[in-house]
Subunit: 222 residues, 2 copies
């Protein structure tokens, strides 16, 4: 399996970069795949169902992807870059790292509420394409860790924290909070919530702020 | 689906409690199921493969379980009670809640190293039996939360923490740390580690201790 991620998509048939119209068709196929994989699961999903859902001819599919496996992997990569985008967009307004963490989670939860497929697709990736699953987690953690390292250098978070371990811990915390309070939650009409309960977000942000904040004796000579 | 958990196992054929020998056969079947589901996944696994692996006649299976789905659910429940046992056993020596948290994770990681099937089975449960998956998480969280609530009453952890949210966050943190540093880790010979890297455990315990510890101004009148 080769993953060309964060590089412009190319045609699987010609190997050349896609035109603007080609990119739109590829996007339509990915959106259809998100729906079909989430509704049916990997085994029941098929290329025919994806192209039907996308309103695209079956033959056209192969200009973009080689197989069901390859569109599945492309979908994980695509959801991954979009969830990271949603997180960094949310973090942009922060004035320090601890605030940024809280906002990053808000971005993650917002994306999860809009794309409940994220969880199902990522969990199936464990069986369908373990390497892509790994990539998904590693990319989020790498981003996290870089932010934590920078904050540590600036004295914004405690010096003693192991930023790699903390990055994995925070990602896991976010994942299960999202599962419990978004995917499992239903309102009186049985609908999933449009956004996470602000009290839960506050509880989560408070927990993270406590864990990350520098000791009061740290950085006093700054 | 009916889940009779934490009650003595009964024969699926007679509805009566199992004899000691019956319990041993049931245990053999569950151990075989753990191996078979972990190696092959739910779809490829079969009752025949499980009974062959257990060295038990096919007909005997139905004295204990009704179907592949029912032994899968029983396995999740069984792994769940064993991982919780491993955690509480590890916590028994703690002198306070923050130390207990660190030891509880050690118990969780020890069980994960010995039963790598836990992760695969739990993740497949999302697709095979969502209600059992929910039960698995909720039982761990309920135990956690009860401990955190008691510690909060005793002033051992910060009063402001939302113990329910924290319990979900901690479980998620433990899950991904276990995935990254046990399931994905390989030594020079390509073998999974027998136990978690002590530095990772220390990083995790330190992170949790920081998040939970009471503010220095708290409890000074105690």
């Amino acid at each position: 399996m080769t993953i060309h991620a964060d590089t412009p998509p190319v045609s699987s048939a010609t190997g050349r970069p896609l035109t603007k119209r080609g990119q739109e068709t590829r996007r339509r196929l990915l959106e259809a795949a998100e729906q079909v994989f989430a509704d049916l699961g990997y085994h029941e999903a098929s290329i025919v169902k994806i192209t039907e859902h996308a309103g695209v001819a079956l033959g056209t599919f192969y200009l973009y992807f080689d197989s069901k496996q390859s569109i599945f992997e492309a979908l994980v990569i695509d959801l991954n870059s979009r969830v990271r985008h949603s997180m960094s967009e949310a973090m942009a307004g922060a004035t320090n790292r601890i605030e940024a963490e809280g906002l990053g989670f808000e971005g993650f939860f917002r994306f999860t509420a809009e794309h409940p497929a994220l969880y199902r697709v990522v969990r199936e990736a464990e069986f369908v394409s373990p390497a892509t699953l790994k990539l998904h987690y590693e990319r989020i953690v790498d981003g996290y860790r870089a932010g934590l390292d920078a904050a540590q250098r600036d004295g914004e978070i405690a010096a003693e924290l192991d930023t790699e371990v903390v990055a994995w811990a925070l990602m896991g915390a976010g994942e299960l909070i999202g599962m419990r309070y978004l995917l499992w939650e239903r309102d009186a009409e049985g609908r999933p919530p449009a956004k996470i309960d602000p009290a839960v977000l506050a509880g989560m942000s408070g927990f993270i702020a406590r864990a990350l904040r520098p000791d009061t004796t740290e950085g006093t000579d700054r």
